[in-house]
């Protein structure tokens, strides 16, 4: 695929054009200092120097709470879907998060598509910003999702000394580059070399967290992990659900109806497979009544070969958000370590 160079003094111009073309979601620093992927209204709002965002991109494609149907129960029952569609450009988002979207694509696409997810996904463009330095919690190298990617993005931007190296990864990304050729020049070999140098250096900045995904995958796939591992992990988990909500690829949801006037809406909400009642049946029977069973099911779904084959890859991108968000010590890094040690 093609690569271009965008001089530093033209970055804002290009961002301005994107803002006129679509809603732009970019890293934005809020008043507390935390960074969120959030709609921006001017190039100056983009926090180019951020390390990681509090949340992944999931919320934009699968909201924590969304209305899927509207119904009226008057004389005659009427039901209609509530679908939201708009063009969105996700700018300067991290490669782990773009990889997370690719995993969600496999889950929500396929033979039966989820129309709500796909309507948003089809109109989204992902421009990633490669990481030059890992954050404390990061282990994307273990998750095969960064800090630099070979593919999976529409465009991947790398901040070079004099401007952005823009790599195109899809037709959508190429079309975007074509539309703004006046600002771009073809990348020079020394610019590509500079990127490779930055990529190498970035890999040396990872901290204490890692994830033994290969070992965990093998043991989970063959159901070799003894029960004691899950029981011990259960003592290190308070079932807050934070790891699932912060995970770029966790996508469980539940559905509830809500009455409003002489009708109502059907909504879906994020759910967490770690919750006690997640699999509880109307009869009261709970096939995963034990906390340890729920942990086993979660990590099997995330890392086993069986599910990796269905989704095209395993479901950990190494963003480390579960490390930050864990109320105890049962995040991906701790869990794979426990599984590896047996």
């Amino acid at each position: 695929m093609n690569a271009y160079f965008l001089p530093r003094d033209r970055v804002d111009e290009l961002v301005g054009r994107l803002l006129r073309a679509a809603e732009v979601i970019a890293p934005k620093r809020v008043e507390t200092g935390d960074v969120f992927y959030s709609p921006v209204s001017s190039p100056g709002e983009v926090a180019w120097d951020y390390k990681t965002a509090v949340e992944p991109l999931k919320r934009f494609l699968l909201p924590q709470q969304e209305t899927v149907l509207r119904f009226s129960t008057g004389e005659k029952l009427r039901v209609e879907p509530v679908l939201e569609e708009k063009d969105r450009i996700f700018l300067a988002v991290r490669n782990c998060d773009v990889t997370g979207v690719n995993v969600l694509d496999a889950m929500f696409g396929g033979e039966i598509e989820d129309p709500y997810y796909m309507a948003r996904r089809r109109r989204a463009t992902f421009i990633s910003l490669a990481c030059l330095e890992a954050d404390e919690q990061c282990f994307c190298v273990c998750g095969d999702a960064g800090p630099f990617l070979k593919n999976g993005y529409d465009q991947q931007w790398t901040p070079l000394a004099e401007g952005m190296l823009i790599e195109v990864g899809s037709d959508k990304g190429q079309a975007l580059a074509d539309a703004h050729q006046d600002l771009l020049s073809p990348a020079e070999p020394d610019q590509v070399a500079e990127k490779l140098q930055l990529a190498k250096r970035a890999e040396e900045t990872f901290g204490e967290f890692r994830s033994y995904i290969a070992a965990a995958m093998r043991r989970l796939t063959l159901a070799e992990t003894p029960d004691e591992v899950w029981e011990r992990l259960a003592d290190h988990c308070v079932e807050c659900g934070g790891c699932t909500f912060l995970c770029p690829t966790c996508s469980c949801f539940t559905v509830t109806d809500r009455l409003e006037g002489d009708g109502g809406v059907r909504e879906r909400h994020w759910d967490a497979c770690l919750y006690n009642c997640y699999a509880r049946e109307a009869s009261g029977h709970n096939p995963r009544a034990e906390h340890s069973q729920r942990l086993r099911a979660r990590f099997f779904h995330k890392l086993s070969h069986q599910w990796a084959q269905r989704n095209g890859r395993h479901a950990c991108v190494g963003c480390g958000r579960c490390v930050v968000g864990c109320q105890a010590w049962a995040h991906m890094s701790a869990a794979t370590e426990a599984i590896r040690r047996g």
């Binding site: 029952l77 879907p81 949801f253 109806d257 997640y278 069986q306 599910w307």
Partner: protein, 276 residues
């Protein structure tokens, strides 16, 4: 691209109480065009919406042939089933489906066919029983063994009486606990397996019922010599979307909604190994 979450509207045609807590509902789509596309196979299920109360999955319990409506048989348990039980003829519900895989039919032609049902487990078997019976000349024999906790828990009682007198089908009943006026067998449904005289090497068995009953019956069937691929059952789990998106019904490496609800004993064993 149609929206798989958007239910079609159907109207309750008939409400037939089966037991003190279980009722069959006959549903017909308001738009006759839907039926053309619907055409379910035995073993499949539907998601039924009672708007305001929510949505829940139910197996289709009526014949897949010769009708333009279908039945579900519902035990009063949770929010949705309670709301359904409060509805009468003419009330409207939402229907999504048919969902899931189905029982094999052509694949098992030429065999002795055994059905073992417990309690409400007769409901998912019923379409298959009716279909196998309709095509009975393709099979060596048809046997239905059905048990419930008490005589009052037997569903489809009028039909059971017919089945017991049908030529080309053997139908035996039992209850765990007898009562006044019950002159039939007393004992768990597994006790009827001793009545099976055919060559199990030439047979296939469909088993549905409560998990505990399935566990014991399957153990007996294996002991009798049934092959692991010739024992076929349906599994249930808490379910939301019915199309492999919400993840609630995952068991091991399978979605019950998408890969099931029909599984062979060999598949079920593998799932249990991954997620006991």
């Amino acid at each position: 691209m149609s929206n798989p979450y958007l239910p079609d509207i159907a109207t309750i045609q008939r409400v037939k109480p089966e037991t003190y807590d279980t009722t069959s509902f006959t549903l017909k789509f308001d738009d006759p065009g839907v039926w053309e596309r619907f055409r379910f196979r035995p073993g499949q299920f539907v998601e039924i919406s009672v708007f305001g109360a929510g949505e829940a999955p139910f197996c289709i319990s009526s014949s897949a042939h010769g009708r333009e409506d279908f039945d579900i048989t519902v035990r009063r348990l949770g929010r949705v089933t309670q709301a359904l039980h409060a509805m009468g003829e003419g009330a409207q519900v939402g229907v999504r489906g048919p969902l899931g895989n189905s029982f094999p039919l052509d694949e098992v032609a030429g065999k002795h066919v055994l059905f073992v049902g417990g309690g409400l487990g007769l409901a998912p078997l019923r379409p298959q029983i009716l279909e196998v019976y309709r095509q009975r000349d393709k099979f060596q024999s048809i046997t239905v063994l059905y048990g419930a906790r008490t005589p009052d828990d037997l569903i489809y009682r009028d039909e059971l009486e017919q089945w017991q007198n049908l030529e080309g089908m053997r139908c035996l009943l039992t209850v765990d606990v007898g009562g006044d006026g019950w002159t039939g067998n007393v004992g768990v449904v597994g006790s009827l397996l001793s009545e099976v005289k055919f060559d199990v090497g030439q047979a296939v068995v469909f088993v549905c019922g409560p998990p505990i009953m399935i566990r014991f019956v399957v153990r007996d069937l294996v002991a009798m010599g049934f092959g692991e691929d010739d024992i076929i059952s349906t599994l249930e789990r808490h379910m939301r979307c019915g199309i492999g998106k919400c993840n609630h019904c995952i068991h091991g490496d399978k979605y019950i909604c998408l890969d099931g609800p029909v599984f062979t004993y060999r598949q079920m064993k593998a799932m249990m190994e991954l997620e006991p």
